[in-house]
Structures are given as C-alpha cells and as structure tokens.
Symmetry: C2
Subunit: 226 residues, 2 copies
C-alpha cells in the first residue's frame, strides 16, 4: 500500500520481468525455427530437444502447445510436434492478409500517432540504416521486424497488432532468407525510406501505398531468392 502510494506515477512503473521457463522456451524455439535450426518438417523430439536446452519435458511441452496455436508447429496426437512447412500458396495468402492489414493500419497511424512516436520510429530507422551500412544482416533483420511491429502498433488497435504479429511470426522464417543479395537489400532500404517519408508527412494514402508496395516487392525478392 504505502509502496504504491510512494510511486511517482503509474506510467513509470515497469514491473520487473520474470518470465517463466515455458515463455523463454517459446521464444527460443521460435528463433530455432526462424533461423532454420529446426527446418520445416523436422520432428521435435521432446526428450532430445529438452535435453539440449537443459530443461525437463514439462515446460517444453507447454511451449509446444503455444507454438502450435501460433501455427509454427503441428501436433500430431501421440506422435509429437512437427515444424509446419510453408507452401508458396500459404505464404501468398498470408501476404495478402498482411497487405490488407497494413492498408487498414496506415490511415490510423497517421491519425493517432504522436509526434514523439513518429520520431521514435525515425530513430529506429536510422539505427537500422547503420546496420545496413555495416552489413550486419541479422541485426538489421531483427530491427526491421521491430520497426514494422512498432509501426502497426501506432494505429492504436490491439487486435490489429495481435493478428499482424501472428502472421508476421509465421512469415519470419521466409523473410529471413530474402534480401540476401545486395541489390535486393538495397531495394528494401529504399522502400523503407518511402514509408518513413510518408509517415513524417502523415500522409495516410501514401503511407498505405508505400507499406503495401513494400510487402509486395519483398515477396518478389524472396521468390527470386528461393
């Protein structure tokens, strides 16, 4: 009681993070799938993988249930978990939905985002350009994803962010293989410049177009790289 009253403001209070083991495992396995350590079609052996991570089967099993509901793995009764394979059609479908969501988000972002939030995005973008300059591909990739998620969240619609995040996660492992070639990467960076520009000027339609265009051209680049 006393402690709570002593705090200056609720917004400053950041609860200490104390993730449970299964949450750590969820993101760990997500990374393994994205990076290809667990390739599509691979069976996840509870005993084996659990031992690798140095944990018992229980938290691993709980993590697999979550990943299954996210669609990254499939649970076959009494046969365990298998990493789902992403067919070109499935990827195309996902991108179609993502485009729709981005198109929906753009005007909301321009309307609802504060100047500070936009400035923050620009800052992240500059940082990302730094990674591009030094060709730090993994860092670039991770920050890139973060910027996109952050951008969508500026629309101020939780549900929109939620479904975007789900599809984004599913796409990650494909996205990562794209932009490998120098010219593809450069094209992606140029796409981003347009998005940032539209965001700065709060031009809804242009932002919408730029974001959709970015998704479309990303996909083209990925298909070429396959």
């Amino acid at each position: 009681m006393k402690v709570r009253e002593a705090m200056s403001s609720p917004s400053e209070v950041i609860p200490i993070e104390r993730p449970t083991l299964h949450m750590i495992v969820v993101s760990r396995i997500r990374d393994m799938v994205i990076e290809g350590t667990l390739p599509a079609g691979a069976r996840i052996h509870e005993g084996q993988v659990g031992e690798q991570l140095g944990i018992s089967r229980t938290p691993l099993r709980e993590a697999l249930k979550v990943l299954a509901s996210e669609g990254l793995v499939e649970l076959v009764p009494s046969r365990g978990a298998v990493v789902t394979t992403l067919t070109p059609k499935a990827a195309q479908d996902m991108l179609d939905v993502l485009k729709e969501l981005e198109a929906m988000a753009a005007p909301l972002i321009c309307e609802n985002a504060s100047d500070e939030e936009i400035a923050e995005i620009c800052q992240l973008h500059d940082k990302m350009l730094g990674f591009y300059a030094t060709r730090s591909r993994l860092e670039y990739f991770k920050l890139n994803q973060q910027i996109h998620s952050r951008l969508i969240s500026l629309a101020g619609n939780e549900s929109l962010s939620l479904v975007y995040e789900i599809l984004q996660t599913r796409m990650k492992r494909i996205r990562f293989i794209g932009d490998k070639k120098e010219d593809s990467w450069q094209a992606a960076v140029e796409d981003h410049d347009k998005i940032i520009e539209a965001l700065k000027s709060r031009n809804g339609p242009r932002l919408s177009a730029a974001m959709v265009e970015h998704v479309t051209s990303s996909w083209e680049r990925i298909k070429r790289a396959l």
Copy 2:
C-alpha cells in the same frame, strides 16, 4: 503403406478424430468463458477447476497456455490464470478488424466458391431459420458462428480463416449476449437474408457490404443490450 494406396482419394480420407485431453479441455474452458460460467476477471484455480473437470493439473495447465495465446485468459507468473476482461474499446477494435477481413473475403468468396459450397451454406442457413422459428437460441447461435466461419473459409485463404477464427472466438462471449431481444434477433435474421442473397448471385461488392453491415449492426444491438 498398403493401406494408404488402397484409399480411393486423399480428399476422401478423414482421419479418425482422437483428440487429446488438453484439446478437449481447451474447448471446454472456451465454452465456460463464452457461456459466462467463468466470468471476466475470474481467477482459474488449477487445483479447483481441474477437480471439477475430473482431470489432473497437467492437461489443464497446457490448455491454459493455449487459451492465453488466444487471448481468452491472461497468465500472471506464479499467480495463475485470469479470464481477460473485454473493454468496449477492445471490442470495437476487434470489430473494425473483422469488418476489414470480411470486406476482403467477400469478393474472394464470390470468385472461388463452388456452386456446391454455396448450396451448402444456403442449407445451413435454412437450418438456422428453423432454430429461429423454434426460438432455440443456443443452437441458433452455434450454427450462426459456424455459417460465418464456413463462409469465410470459402475465400480459400487459410490465413484469413485463421485470424478470423481467432477474433471470432474472442468476440463470442460478447456476441452471445446480443440478439436476446426479439426485434434484435429478427434484425439479425434479415441481415443474414441479404448475405445469402448476395452470395447466391455471386455479387462481390454487395456481399461485402452486407457482411460489413451485419457486423456493424450486430455491434449496435449488443451495445443496446449491455
């Protein structure tokens, strides 16, 4: 091997359902949340609820992890699961996304659905009218949800169905309380007639408009009932 070859066609093969306990528990608890047995804000006591369902804590815990990733419950570390409360703003946001998804689905449905599939929807619709006639509210509600899901799936985009399903599930517990009053219910039935009509004539724009209108007016009815 032999068995697989002996089967006439892959599409005919329906694997026998043998759901694991945790899957049963997932849908069971979903129902409990939707029906209000577990009201918003209620803490789910692992030992207690587990005993009620006659199962051990393990499958219950696994189910809770899944429900958490669906957003129906929230997991507070070392304090357990709490049924999430749905604020009006959150509901509004959800509906905005649902509208977008339905608008996206409509033209795809008109394009991709086969005549048989459309006929099937009409059949379900007639069956639902039967439930309306006898005022079987729960059956009506369940079939209604099924028709909507089925309709979206006709767009032939798995991802679209997936995210629709997720949001739909979250909305269920609110939807259920709507259409309680006779005139609201009747209005909903009229909305449906328009949807069916547009579907039969494969008129994309009109189907889109009808579906979006249905979502919008449903929400109005729900708000009045609150």
